[in-house]
């Protein structure tokens, strides 16, 4: 309520200021009267914490856990570990790097209630990450989490063994487009050196398109995906052996220019 008042006051001031700036004598609109505080419902009990949980309560490093809480009869709800003041009912994703106990403090006119929720981080923490200032960027997720899809010779269908890869790619791409709705990803189709350059240009196009179709069927927005074939013009290795051929027969993901 106090916030609301301040907002209204600022708005009025702004309107006044603008009117003055325009040097027009429009009478100021009368400020809206705030609704009176409901006096009859003043809490008489200590705040009641319905629940305060972490789901899942066990995660590996980098995975999110969701804190959920519900509090009644409180004027202020706070959670420590850098979260701060929150609304009485809510949820918050956390990415703890080690086992952390979150402490919730609910304060009301009639007293204070407290509760704890613990997120256990199961694996030992990895080497200290490069400080990037919080969440990974879309570009970082693209580079680290979106893997190449590989193909058989002269084929453009997604292999059974690559289903897990493309599902992981779909999940990472969905995250990318949530973080940055303006991000566009190019799927590049590539081939090994054996076929003709001409046929391979069309084959690489099929590989990129098949990868795009598979991602769309896994819920990735198609308008965020472009495709381009490089045929065999951009190999990642040039040895004349199957191991290298297999690495070159790929759909690769890059940030669109």
């Amino acid at each position: 309520m106090t916030k609301h008042k301040i907002k209204m006051a600022l708005l009025s001031a702004l309107v006044l200021g603008l009117s003055a700036g325009c040097q027009k004598k429009i009478p100021p609109a009368p400020p809206q009267v705030p609704a009176p505080l409901p006096e009859n419902n003043a809490p008489t009990n200590k705040p009641s914490i319905g629940y305060f949980t972490a789901e899942p309560s066990t995660v590996t490093v980098g995975q999110p856990s969701s804190l959920r809480w519900s509090v009644t009869d409180a004027t202020s709800v706070k959670i420590d570990n850098g979260i701060g003041e929150v609304s009485p009912n809510g949820r918050r994703g956390v990415y703890p790097t080690s086992t952390t106990t979150y402490h919730l403090t609910a304060t009301g006119p009639a007293g204070t209630s407290e509760a704890d929720a613990t997120v256990t981080v199961s694996s030992p923490p990895p080497p200290a990450p490069v400080p990037t200032g919080g969440q990974p960027t879309a570009r970082e997720i693209l580079a680290k989490q979106v893997q190449d899809v590989h193909f058989e010779y002269d084929k453009s269908d997604i292999r059974g063994e690559d289903q897990a890869i493309i599902q992981g790619d779909a999940s990472a791409l969905r995250t990318i487009f949530q973080i940055d709705p303006n991000f566009i990803v190019t799927i590049e189709g590539h081939c090994d050196e054996r076929g003709s350059a001409e046929y391979n240009l069309a084959l690489g196009d099929r590989r990129a398109a098949a990868t795009k179709d598979a991602l769309i069927s896994l819920g990735v927005p198609g308008d965020k995906l472009k495709t381009v074939s490089f045929g065999k013009e951009r190999p990642i290795c040039t040895e004349a052996m199957e191991d290298c051929y297999a690495r070159n027969r790929r759909a690769h993901f890059s940030a669109a220019q």
């Binding site: 050196e193 054996r194 076929g195 003709s196 001409e198 046929y199 240009l201 398109a209 381009v228 074939s229």
Partner: protein, 459 residues
Amino acid sequence: MRTLTLSLSLLFTLGLASARQQVVGTIEKNPGKPHIAVTDFRATGTTAPSLMAVFNSTVQSDLQSSPLINFIPKTLYPLRIPQVPNDLAAGEASANTKPAPIPGFRLADWYAAPAQANYLGMGYGAEDRGLFVVFGYFYTTAPNITDLQQAQIFGKVYTGSLDQSGAIDAAHHYAADMLAQFGGTSLVGTRIVFVSDRTGSKEIWAMNWDGTDQHQITKYGSISTFPSVSPDGHIVAFTTYATGYPAIQMFSLDTNRKLPFYNQRASMNAFVTFTPDSKQIIFSSTAAGGAAQLYMANTDGSGFRRITNSGVIEVEAKINPKTGTDLVDVSGRSGLPQVYKMNIEGTDVQRLSAGTGEATNPAWSPDGSHIAFAWTKGFEPGNYNIFVMDVVTRETIQLTANEGRNENPNWAPDGAHIVFASKRAGRSQIWVMNADGTGKHPLTDKGGNEKPVWVNAEK
């Protein structure tokens, strides 16, 4: 055109006869081909004498690389070398000639063993007002012709700049005039367009037919490849990533400037072939989604219409340059890529290649009777060799074997030479050979060079 057809039918009758006997291999030299002797020319003056070595070697290599004639080794020539018509006597030696003449000045001396020449080329060089000048003659040695004037087929003056390139130019023209007597279409003045990465990125380049004057056409610093040239020689069409996606670009070879072309909205537009009148094109596009299909359009991209609807990859369409009503392309209709033939509306589809391995890179002979193509026959994927097929009989002869990867064959306007890309010496280079597989020699050696196209018109 009549002489061209003649020379081709001669060549391939021989080629296929031989192919029937030994299945794989090159064609035997035709014992019935005319045998030609050309003397080493000498010159007077201060500079011209030093240019005669390159003149003589150029004439010799032009004649040796022609499948139309047999060049007689110079070690078999008579001792006396005529230089001017006045040196010569026709027919048999007359009774009152001085005793025991040294052989060489009578045409009969050249007709006799060991030279056994049917024709004699001779002449000399000089310099005149700063120019290199050659007097080149050509005679038949037929013993029934006793009149020297009748025996002379031609006598011409050739001029060039007074340096190596002038001497080479004069030699090419003299050799071409001799070969023209046997149905040879001169390649002098023709060019080859190709792709080179010698600047660090793939660009379109052009050079003279003999590998001289190699110069860059595009400067995009991207990937520019798959060139084709309109039959009138005015336009080179190619595929470039300059805008990020493989798209077609038309470029004037006359003005060295881009020409307008509307690319369909597609992930890929590529592989242009021109109609014989140079007014329309067929190319591959993914404009309708799915695998690349063949479409026809005007040379500015307007009038776009669909030709194939096969659901599988269709690339490398090549319109028959003789008829303009049928084409060959490379299709995945039967699995791995094979060469197919169809009419220009996309109907009457037939597979031309045998169906084994991968067959790709088809190219029409100028008379539309044969295609050259690359085939992995008998080898692992990627190990291509050059083959020539009679489109009617489907008989096939192999022109390269056991010499690295060979691909992208393309015919010279004379129908008697084929230019191709080969990795026999490491990186891909442009090579040329006779259409019977003989006389292979490289034209490039800087960087990697590929996808040669012989321009079917003089500049």
